[in-house]
Symmetry: C2
């Protein structure tokens, strides 16, 4: 049998993976969850028909959503991840020795459960003693805090369905309040090829919320729409360009994509992207 899984990135373009085995398909309270074992990219976590990660290239996404902020911050101790129930972001966060507590706030317990069962290399740090998992709506959870977190990472799905509120001004305002005076907020911000209008909107909303530093950076995720991906970096004090892990050694954090050199490069945006968010 030749089994293929196709994700349509727009109604006119798609990526297809040859599938070895369908390991899991089910429906949680929030979404359809599937795990497919593919020949080229290993296991895929698919939520509501969209590839969240593949075993082969997830390291790029998770290193890039975590390390630019964690190496920019002088001493990140309390970090919150909203979404990201697969555990990939947490795995990268706890590589930093300074972390006292990493909280994962995931709305859907089944995503965590499925990741623990089928994606051990991704969920590997979820049982660490300095990791705490909260099953709650991230919007509600973050609104309870004030001046508490060093870094908040919004590892959300696309701005449809359960993640819609994670792209709203009121949520960004709550994140601002929940961050300490030198805190940093990072949000995955979709593809500059397909979602440039959304990126512009995120940029404006974050600036309105009074973050003095709002920048974007980019990277390549082969299995995400267009391959070109972006993250918003909103900071109260530390500039990701001027301040990069000067006081900490990168050597203790093992990575495959991120390095301090990459850090310097990824904030230099493709011209069409830079121009879309300028001003």
């Amino acid at each position: 049998m030749h089994l293929w899984y196709t994700e349509y990135h727009t109604e006119n373009v798609g990526i297809s993976f040859k599938v070895r085995e369908t390991l899991f398909v089910g429906r949680s309270k929030y979404q359809e969850i599937a795990v497919l074992d593919t020949f080229e990219f290993g296991r895929l976590l698919v939520l509501d028909g969209l590839v969240m990660l593949t075993e082969r290239d997830e390291f790029i996404y998770h290193e890039l959503i975590v390390h630019p902020a964690l190496f920019t911050h002088k001493c990140p101790q309390n970090v919150l991840v909203i979404g990201g129930g697969d555990g990939g972001s947490i795995r990268e966060i706890v590589k930093h020795d300074c972390i006292k507590e990493a909280i994962l706030c995931e709305i859907d317990p089944q995503v965590v459960e499925i990741s623990k069962k089928y994606l051990p290399s991704v969920s590997s740090a979820l049982e660490y003693p300095n990791v705490k998992i909260i099953y709650e709506d991230g919007i509600k959870f973050v609104s309870k805090f004030s001046n508490y977190f060093d870094v908040i990472i919004v590892d959300s799905t696309d701005p449809i369905g359960p993640a819609k509120g994670l792209f709203e001004s009121s949520f960004y305002r709550d994140c601002f309040r929940a961050l300490k005076e030198d805190g940093i907020l990072v949000c995955q911000s979709e593809s500059p090829i397909y979602h440039l209008d959304l990126i512009k909107e995120i940029n404006l909303k974050l600036k309105e919320v009074d973050f003095p530093i709002v920048k974007f950076y980019y990277g390549i995720i082969p299995t995400y729409p267009s391959g070109m991906w972006s993250w918003a970096f909103a900071s109260k004090k530390f500039d990701p360009i001027k301040y990069i892990g000067k006081e900490r050694e990168q050597l203790t954090v093992k990575t495959k994509y991120y390095s301090l050199d990459i850090h310097k490069g990824i904030f230099n945006l493709p011209l069409f992207f830079k121009e879309a968010i300028k001003g």
Copy 2:
């Protein structure tokens, strides 16, 4: 009718485009040539079943294969493109006022003919007075020169079929000889995700040929395999990091992806790529 074109990047993964119209399919002496009009990426030039360019994202590839070398070189006057019969690289080259002669050496006249007919925005500079088109095997052509070109750009197809020889040491040696004492050679060098062994091989071969400076840079081409693409930069004198267009204004060259900032960023390679070619 729902017509889709699928390119298999490996035997286990593919990208599919919804097709509005098949504008041309034919066979030249060297290869099968097709032009498809797609809904998402505009017109596609497809050679032997592989997407060479799409109207929507070709600007990234052509800006990145040309401008890093042309802005590193102090005063590029004579530039050779091998392959690239579509004309995209030539279009970027002639944006530089200093160019006296840009030679396009393409083995297949039909690629040029088809591009002129169906891809006017790509082939737009092929009739410029400082552009000369030679229909010959690039390997033979370059072997006739000594100390002549400022920059040689190898805009080849994949290292199978007619382009195989463009990845050989003897060809690189001929390019070295054909370049002036401050000349630069740039070669497209495939995907770091799928073709890392080939990249390692190119790196070793270029170093053996005595280029004192051999570096790689990377970029994102959404419609190429894995989206992550690379180029080899072999230079006799100018370092692309230390010397970037210091004496020329970028403002005269209009681009959509490349900028002097991007130039600085793209030589900072993802760690797995950097480590594969170190030493």
